[in-house]
């Protein structure tokens, strides 16, 4: 039995703030300013930050959802969403059981994980050529 199958519901604590949210938003603004100025990419690892109950959800609400959202299936799903602040991406990687293994904000034009990787392109090309030789579509 994995963890998800255990019928335990976690009661959320009453919301309160420990002041992380404001500091984090200031950091995001600083990184975005740097990226806009000279293209320096930035990122913030959300897993390493202590959030009080409710603060994480407040951050999600504040950043909102922008125009682009991408779902990747690679050793479990990954969700990549541009926030309503273009250039600020929320990247969440899950394992096959649905647990978060990495959760970060990336300040960039497009997160690296979305791009096709050169090794995968080479392997795909090889596969395509082999299939063309074996079973040429008419």
């Amino acid at each position: 039995m994995n963890l998800q199958n255990i019928p335990v519901s976690i009661e959320s604590a009453e919301e309160y703030s420990i002041g992380s949210l404001h500091a984090l938003l200031v950091e995001i603004a600083t990184l975005l300013e740097e990226f806009a100025r000279d293209g320096t990419r930035g990122s913030i690892d959300l897993n390493s930050l202590p959030f009080a109950a409710g603060e994480y959800d407040k951050l999600r609400q504040f950043l909102g959802q922008g125009e682009v959202s991408v779902r990747i299936e690679a050793v479990g799903p990954s969700e990549i969403m541009e926030t309503r602040y273009p250039g600020v991406w929320w990247v969440t990687h899950y394992n096959v059981e649905g647990d978060i293994v990495a959760d970060m904000l990336e300040i960039t034009d497009i997160p690296e994980i979305i791009k096709s990787q050169s090794a995968d392109i080479a392997a795909g090309l090889e596969l395509l050529r082999a299939q063309l030789n074996d079973e040429v579509p008419q």
Binding site: N47, A52, A74, V75, H93, N95, E97, M104, E112
Partner: protein, 361 residues
Amino acid sequence: MNEHDTLGERLAQQGISRRSFLKFCAALASMMALPPGAASAIAETLIKTKRPSVIWLSFQECTGCTESLTRSDTPTLENMIFNMISLDYHHTLQAASGYGAEKSREDAMKEFYGKYLLLVDGSIPLKDGGIYSTIAGRTNLDLLQEVAKGAAAIVAVGTCASFGGIPEARPNPTGAVPVSDIIKDKPIINVSGCPPIPVVITGVLAHYLTFGELPALDDLGRPKSFYGQSIHDRCYRRPFYDQGKFAKTFDDEGARNGWCLFELGCKGPITHNACATTKWNGGTSFPIESGHGCLGCSEPHFWDGGSFYAPLSTPTSPLNLATDAVVAGAAIGAGITIANRMKKNAAKSEHQTATVADLEK
């Protein structure tokens, strides 16, 4: 046994895409407290790295450390870690047994002498010639000394291997000691915890493979990226400590409000580990989040550091007692034990439950 292939070759054989590996490296960067942007660089390095041979020796231990790693919440990603190494000997996990198992260890030691990583869980008994724990008829001490000679580095997994742990707790009947008390001429990294957080074990391996050296260590030989801050510093209840708001019992208003557990014996202020951010059980929570104070299991002698339910401010220093004080302490301890037993018996006769708080009055 042939020279091991690279991780890239291994992943390609298994049809794992580079994007999947990049994702894995993003998780690694996060667990190693590296900037998330380091994922690409880690991927580039690891993909070309030859998989090192790893020999895992289990001594006086409960197998909790192996359980922690193998029953981790991220099986697929952990499998990738196992792809990154060649686990050539682990007597709990390997299929071979008896002479076959010992031969695989000897073969790996010979083939990769000076290059293999040695992982150890459990402490090593020294009393009476070390007879209290043996493997294939050899004492743990003998085995450790032999295997350590050809190791590039040693990872002491868990508090027992790092600091002696529970086997070393008073009165330490087997004369248990940690790895670092025996091996003095090899780099040793202590990954303490009872058990250690699984991603810390894998993070240390990943760091070694990525950078070819051990990570920066604290004064107790633990990686700073995981043990650099105290549980207290990273605790979401820390603001209540600063405000002087404490739970006084486990079911009072303060406890229900999620106030600081310091007065209920939380050892968070003196305990260095990553539980508060990495958490347990698939990132669900860590002990303080479940309403119980930290036991301090990643610190030396945590088992002998006084009651788990006495505040740190309680003036107990059982570890530093002088000999005559120990004698006096033993007498007092015996007195307290008798008194506690009387309280417990009295409670039983009155059909009441004796609580921890009762025993500590």
